[in-house]
Symmetry: C2
Subunit: 434 residues, 2 copies
């Protein structure tokens, strides 16, 4: 397949116009200046995409999500956090079957593909339902169940263990698209023995780790009171970061936390919509970056975002950093793109993707810059994280396969998905109100 | 015209589903529960809109803009503020003719109509070009030229005076759609005698006032150094707020500023995208509201936003307030809607619009909530400022006239507008590079 006469954006954020990008199988074969017109190209090649007015970018890596939470998107707005969680989300989630999780995942994956995301890192439960959705749709994912437990919990006897072991076997048969992670929900929902147990398990089985870290001031301060140390130090001492780890939120990290995270190669994931909307606070991504920590971007679950639109997250991350630090140069387009693509790929352990370069996997998105809100166009690249939104994404490709194009999904029967999501919603609401 | 079986949202933020809303001429005639099916309604009425899956809201009042700045949207990204202004924006603007301003305004108005905005408050130059665009397109506007000057400036000899006087005459012939405002650019771009002169002029001619207020810490602190008082006190003492005033930004107001603004009935306009993107800072809208100040929302110019999407602005205002104050209950949907609609109408002095109630002007927008990112729907109202974006607006109506519907403008030849905007851009760039 040939993307003909399309603008591309490099990891330096610089735009190159009028390029030809050839895809061969699952890989980017070549990127060269375009020197033929569309008609000639179409005569010579069987599959030519007219890229005029469009920007080709590496697809987004959504580095922290709870994808089945599309099911509870908007369920319990205008409630305080505790009420939202304890009166709405937890009772609803307690009723979810693996099949329900499958349908919620199908909807979430459709939304992600529709907005240019090629891979996501997830933490949830009944995760075999997510796996099934990932395999059917063609997206990539790093999947995990988030472990919680107390002093009575024996790791090997948990649903967590069963699901994680199953995911390790499933992932091996996924042709590299799915990676199984170990995942601890958070410091405040576990005990030291359990943290040590999951750390050992991850190390022994060579798994990456995923965890919520210092998301609220309350959990951060409570850890210091209980253990005399920050969650970052606590986890470090218990060995949680011995394997490559992505930690989500990190709003309240402080002092030597920064150096500990950098020295252990922990990736941090920033989710500004969720941090703001549920009133957690504002993470200081500039400090992360300045300390040499790898920065990635995520959407969190649709319950607290309320969408899975990575362009919106990156734009918000950019605007927040500029506003907080009163510096309009934070961050450059190249840096933002790296956060949302290459860094996410590396955090997932995928060395062969996240860059628009020959030899890398064709995990790509096309943004159509013909809409009114881009006019007049001065530069495609710098327009990406200022005025683009999800509806401007025209095409999403994973491993060289087009999964979304111009309103249509190639692997998803979206009407069937929506019908089933409403069925699940109505069933759960009926059970909850019974 | 009948909006059939549509959800509506009241100023209390509560959703009512399955309503019939009848428009008669320029006004909302009735709002009643729907008790007939679509086919029956279509038999009885000649103009029936199928509202299923859709939400009818009062249209947005964009309370601070520089609408012709669409021409410089994205011109000079990744530059520091001073460089952006002095090397890009000011030289470009110096070349603009009234005709150029017309084309930039046509594009900006198209974008506003496409995203549900029915009226805007503007401050720019060569404003007869904006007036012409407003009259042709059917939108509403409060228009002004932003006065700047030093001790040598004689008000009556300025282009400002000539344009403002012309606008007063034009507005009288606009059937109420255009209101002429007096407008002072800002404290730091004027001198006390000029502030007093424009204050006198506004009072004598019964005009509303529009002004930038304490947008940056630098201007705010500099005023305190030079005059021994904040810009708010300075303006108060010079009589600027003697007439109903809308002040834009107000990021650095402090202390008794709040009470002064409330007591004088000054409306504040919040533009979070612009405040963040150019590194000005974060306004504390909760404090505005808590002090009893009328809050409105604006987009600012497309150079510093970079779009004119009010839904995005309101959502960002909501998320920022929640995040800064760590309170997910800030603000309710009803409050946010009031900021962006009724309060904007009142700030413009339009008592007869901004509410979805019989007898009020039919200045309305329809949001289509069938897109993927709304599914599954729990509540139309609370989904508005969490997951809607500009592309979800299906219809915009001003004074009972449909001006935008399903991708089409009824009063704008959008291709001609875009062609001319590019022509203007290219002419200016050629002149600047000559």
């Amino acid at each position: 397949m040939l993307f003909h006469n399309i603008a591309i954006i490099g990891s330096d954020g610089k735009t190159k116009k009028n390029m030809n990008v050839r895809i061969d199988g699952a890989f980017i074969a070549s990127i060269e200046p375009c020197n033929c017109d569309l008609t000639d190209a179409q005569k010579r090649e069987k599959d030519v995409y007219d890229g005029s007015g469009k920007l080709l970018i590496p697809g987004f890596f959504n580095n922290h999500s709870h994808v089945p939470m599309t099911l509870t998107r908007g369920y319990g707005e205008e409630l305080a956090l505790e009420d939202w969680l304890y009166k709405r989300i937890f009772p609803f989630e307690a009723l979810l079957t693996e099949e329900d999780v499958y349908w919620g995942s199908m909807l979430g994956i459709a939304e992600m593909l529709r907005s240019g995301t090629v891979s996501f890192t997830d933490m949830y439960m009944r995760i075999q339902g997510i796996f099934r959705a990932v395999m059917e749709t063609g997206i990539k994912a790093s999947l995990s169940n988030g472990l919680t437990g107390d002093d009575t919990t024996v790791l090997e006897e948990t649903a967590w263990y069963r699901e994680t072991e199953q995911m390790r076997r499933d992932a091996e048969a996924s042709d590299g698209r799915v990676i199984a992670n170990a995942s601890l929900h958070a410091q405040y929902t576990s005990v030291p023995a359990l943290v040590r147990a999951i750390a050992d398990y991850a190390r022994e089985n060579n798994l990456r780790m995923h965890v919520h870290l210092s998301e609220t001031e309350h959990e951060h301060e409570q850890c210091k009171e209980l253990h005399g140390k920050t969650p970052t130090t606590y986890f470090t001492e218990l060995g949680l970061f011995d394997v490559p780890t992505t930690a989500a939120h990190a709003i309240y990290i402080e002092g030597e936390d920064y150096d500990l995270l950098r020295d252990q190669g922990v990736t941090l994931c920033h989710m500004p919509s969720s941090n703001l909307k549920i009133g957690s606070g504002l993470a200081d991504v500039k400090s992360w970056r300045d300390h040499g920590i790898r920065v990635t971007i995520g959407t969190d679950g649709a319950g607290s975002n309320n969408n899975l639109d990575m362009i919106e997250e990156v734009t918000l991350a950019s605007y927040l950093a500029k506003g907080i630090h009163r510096d309009p140069l934070l961050f450059s387009t190249g840096e933002l793109l790296t956060f949302a693509t290459r860094n996410g790929a590396l955090a997932q352990g995928r060395e062969d993707t996240g860059l628009l370069e020959p030899g890398f996997r064709a995990d790509l998105a096309v943004v159509d810059m013909n809409a009114l809100h881009f006019q007049p166009m001065y530069d495609y690249g710098t327009s990406l994280f200022t005025n683009a939104n999800a509806s401007d994404v025209a095409l999403t490709m994973v491993d060289g396969r087009i999964l979304y194009r111009d309103g249509e999904f190639t692997t998803i029967d979206i009407e069937k998905v929506i019908w089933n999501v409403y069925r699940v919603r109505d069933e759960k609401l009926a059970q909850l109100n019974a």
